[in-house]
């Protein structure tokens, strides 16, 4: 009889177990028991879930930390460094980010101090006169040649050295080591007198401006431009996109034609033009309206920056508006929107309360990825000389300036380039992480 129970794979039946079952086991189970049976998984809200996934993403979190550090560098840094970004430090021109102590400098000067042949001859003649002799022209020539040879410094390969190479060689010979932080001779002397002087950690430029202060300010401008431009793009794109998507029909057709044309306009060309034109126009405006608060504001921000924002606002919202329009059209078909409309909710309210919250994820990601591209563009324009203008520093224009004398002062390129690249990289990585966290399709 037991053969009636089929032995099939893992569903092994224990005959004894079956025999031991009583009526109690076959009693109906109540609702509570059934409910306890399922091990519930906690339901988490969309944002909590996204945050949990973002936190797990090591790369994105490292990027966030780096961004925070760069932010501190740009916004808190200038308060710590006692030099202004546009402050000329007399006597501290072209400093390297390192220095030699005064004693070392003296030693070096002594070691490389040369005796000119004429002096040697004069000295020899004096000595000879004291002994009552006169030097023959052959002897004079010999002394001259000797002096020349002893003045020449040759390295191990027999190359004759002079200038910077000679200094570097002699420093190595004397065991003089560079110390971090750039100080001018004047500053070193003040330090010797017990004064405290903040070092020029990144050196100074050819006008004696502290390079670190300038890099900090440039970073600050880049970040502000990036975030502000992204917000500008967000606002214009969101408004345009949601109107276009929500209204549909003819409005949509016309609005999308406009988008299409703007889309196919080569942005960089026009941005170059716009930022140039805006710059000139705003400067003119400021000159004509001195004392006007708007003019003062423009003056404060720098006309170039404003020109750049206007250029951004005019051209870069297209992608954002397309994304939002797509989302809105997709969401518009959803039933809860139909329901809201049936209940008599107004168009604006439907957009605000129902549609926007639902495409929030995509908007956040797109905005975040807009920041690095704005920084990219700002540095690009500044590099070409049509972006942020003097005296305001920009990482792009600093890199551009560093091209002259790149071999002597390579770090003038490195400092802004590294900060710029790390900043863009971190924004990109963080944006990627955010997208992974917010995109439910990638839910693991």
């Amino acid at each position: 009889m037991a053969g009636k129970f089929k032995h099939m794979g893992s569903l092994q039946i224990d005959e004894a177990y079956l025999a031991g079952l009583g009526d109690a086991d076959f009693a109906p189970a109540n609702q509570e028991e059934k409910a306890n049976f399922i091990a519930d998984r906690k339901s988490i809200s969309y944002w909590a879930d996204a945050w949990r996934r973002l936190r797990k993403n090591v790369v994105a979190m490292v990027a966030l930390v780096v961004l925070i550090f760069i932010g501190l560098f740009a916004f808190v840094g200038p308060a710590i460094v006692p030099y202004g970004y546009d402050e000329f430090n007399a006597g501290a021109e072209n400093l390297h980010p390192w220095h030699y102590t005064l004693e070392d400098q003296a030693r070096l000067a002594e070691a490389t101090q040369s005796v000119s042949p004429e002096e040697a001859v004069a000295k020899a003649q004096e000595e000879a006169a004291a002994q009552g002799k006169t030097l023959t022209s052959i002897e004079i020539a010999k002394i001259r040649a000797q002096a020349n040879v002893s003045n020449q410094v040759t390295d191990e390969d027999g190359n004759v050295l002079s200038g910077d190479e000679l200094n570097a060689y002699m420093r190595a010979q004397l065991g003089i080591k560079a110390r971090p932080g750039g100080y001018s001779v004047g500053e070193l002397e003040r330090m010797a007198n017990g004064e405290k002087v903040f070092p020029h950690l990144f050196g100074t430029d050819r006008n004696g401006r502290d390079y670190m202060a300038r890099v900090m300010m440039g970073t600050r401008i880049s970040m502000i431009v990036g975030v502000a431009a992204a917000l500008l793009v967000l606002i214009i794109g969101a408004v345009y996109g949601s109107i276009s998507g929500y209204c549909g029909g003819k409005v949509d057709v016309v609005m999308q034609r406009i988008v299409e044309i703007i889309y196919s306009i080569p942005e960089v060309l026009v941005i170059l033009l716009i930022s140039m034109v805006m710059n000139d126009t705003l400067k003119e405006y400021v000159n004509l309206n001195r004392g006007n608060p708007i003019a003062q504001l423009i003056n404060l921000l720098g006309s170039n920056l404003i020109g750049m924002f206007i250029a951004f606002g005019m051209l870069y919202w297209v992608t954002m508006s397309r994304i939002i329009r797509g989302q809105i059209i997709q969401l518009k078909e959803q039933e809860y929107v139909t329901a809201a409309r049936a209940l008599g909710a107004s168009g604006g309210r439907i957009i605000r309360r129902h549609l926007l919250p639902n495409c929030m994820g995509q908007i956040v990601v797109t905005t975040c990825l807009q920041i690095p591209s704005a920084i990219f563009l700002e540095s690009f324009l500044s590099f070409l000389g049509v972006g942020v203008s003097a005296p305001l520093p920009s990482l792009g224009s600093m890199a551009s300036d560093a091209l002259n004398g790149l071999n002597t002062y390579p770090y003038r390129l490195f400092f802004p380039a590294i900060i710029l690249s790390v900043m863009i990289l971190s924004f990109n990585l963080f944006g990627d992480g955010l997208r992974d966290a917010l995109d439910p399709r990638l839910k693991k």
Partner: protein
């Protein structure tokens, strides 16, 4: 066209399929997905046999492991899916022991598969002819282009496509859904496989087209004596085409049997639920459809006991503690439910009293 003649032509060593002989045997198959959140036991120990010329339906809700089970036969499990236990034997060969290259020559030639959505299953950038001939030439390198084209056209005609000369040069988007499914079937059958796995082949189609495709499959199956595994959640389709049915729930096979047994003497409350939720033309006027309440269990941490218990109206205390064993209800008809175990035990007792 006589397909059997064709079968003999394709290769000397091919065994003529005999209806009633064992073609495929699946024993206690376990498939798991190793996700970051943990192991998901998509298939937890199922067994069945399939003979030549037999059509077996696998029925169940989405997520019950039907497709996963089929994919593991044909070696198409995507990582992180993995067969973790059991065996699959095809014509006496251990399929799970196949090497990569053995597996790819096995696929397509011995076993073919057609998928649910004909709209996305054909590569949009190649012509129908190209994709058909490719299937043929993957397994027979010696066949000439002309010969392959000829075979492909014959195959298209066989599945009821007209104007094949022109159709061969067209792209998938120029075909309707039903036509594409016909192409998929032609592509599956072009190498004369012994087993066809159809993963919800009619779900994405219109009802009228569905009937045509089913008719076509029945027709072809009679001609070729191949075995068919028909995965679906539509019991109407099952009644139409299948000889026997396996009902799956949460990765477990809860009931198995001949079509008639399943339809007229369902042995598991889930099967009963499925039947009751199916609209019937011949139903009494006021009969209502009864849906199965609740949702399937979380496969990430499946409970001890019967997975259907929380949704079962006749759930018992024992159901929540242990998975029931299979009870033989008739020839080839078995079910895993404590209700049946209880009946069986009672019968045993009675018989014991009677005998003693």
């Amino acid at each position: 066209m006589d397909l059997n003649k064709d079968v003999q032509n394709t290769g000397g060593e091919q065994v003529q399929p005999v209806p009633g002989q064992k073609l495929l045997e699946v024993q206690d198959l376990h498939v798991s997905f190793f996700t970051p959140a943990g192991e998901v036991k998509a298939v937890g120990g199922i067994s069945y046999e399939l003979n030549y010329g037999e059509v077996m339906g696998i029925v169940g809700e989405s997520g019950s492991g039907k497709s996963v089970e089929a994919y593991s036969i044909i070696g198409l499990l995507q990582s992180p899916g993995k067969v973790v236990g059991g065996s699959i034997t095809f014509e006496g060969q251990d399929v799970l022991a196949f090497s990569k290259s053995e597996m790819s020559s096995f696929r397509g030639s011995k076993v073919a598969m057609i998928f649910q959505n004909p709209m996305t299953c054909l590569n949009p950038v190649y012509t129908i002819g190209n994709q058909l001939m490719e299937a043929l030439r993957a397994h027979d390198k010696s066949i000439s282009k002309e010969e392959a084209a000829k075979r492909a056209m014959e195959m298209l005609e066989l599945v009821g496509i007209n104007n094949v000369q022109k159709r061969m040069k067209q792209y998938p988007h120029e075909f309707s859904g039903g036509m594409r499914q016909r192409v998929m079937i032609a592509m599956g059958l072009i190498c004369h496989p012994k087993l066809l796995i159809a993963d919800e082949p009619t779900t994405a189609l219109d009802v009228t087209i569905q009937a045509q495709i089913l008719e076509l499959m029945k027709d072809l199956q009679k001609k070729t004596h191949m075995g068919i595994i028909f995965i679906t959640h539509n019991l109407g389709v099952v009644a139409e085409i299948c000889d026997k049915v396996s009902v799956m729930y949460a990765g477990k096979m809860v009931e198995q049997g001949k079509v008639d047994d399943i339809f007229y003497h369902p042995g598991h409350p889930y099967t009963l639920g499925l039947l009751r939720s199916m609209p019937r033309v011949d139903a009494e006027e006021h009969e209502r459809l009864i849906p199965i309440e609740g949702t399937p269990v979380d496969m990430l941490n499946p409970p001890e006991g019967c997975p259907f218990a929380p949704r079962c109206e006749s759930c018992m205390k024992i159901c929540l503690q242990k998975m029931p064993p299979y009870v033989e209800l008739g020839e080839g008809h078995r079910s895993a439910c404590w209700l049946r175990v209880q009946e069986q035990l009672k019968n045993q007792k009675k018989e014991g009293e009677h005998n003693g």
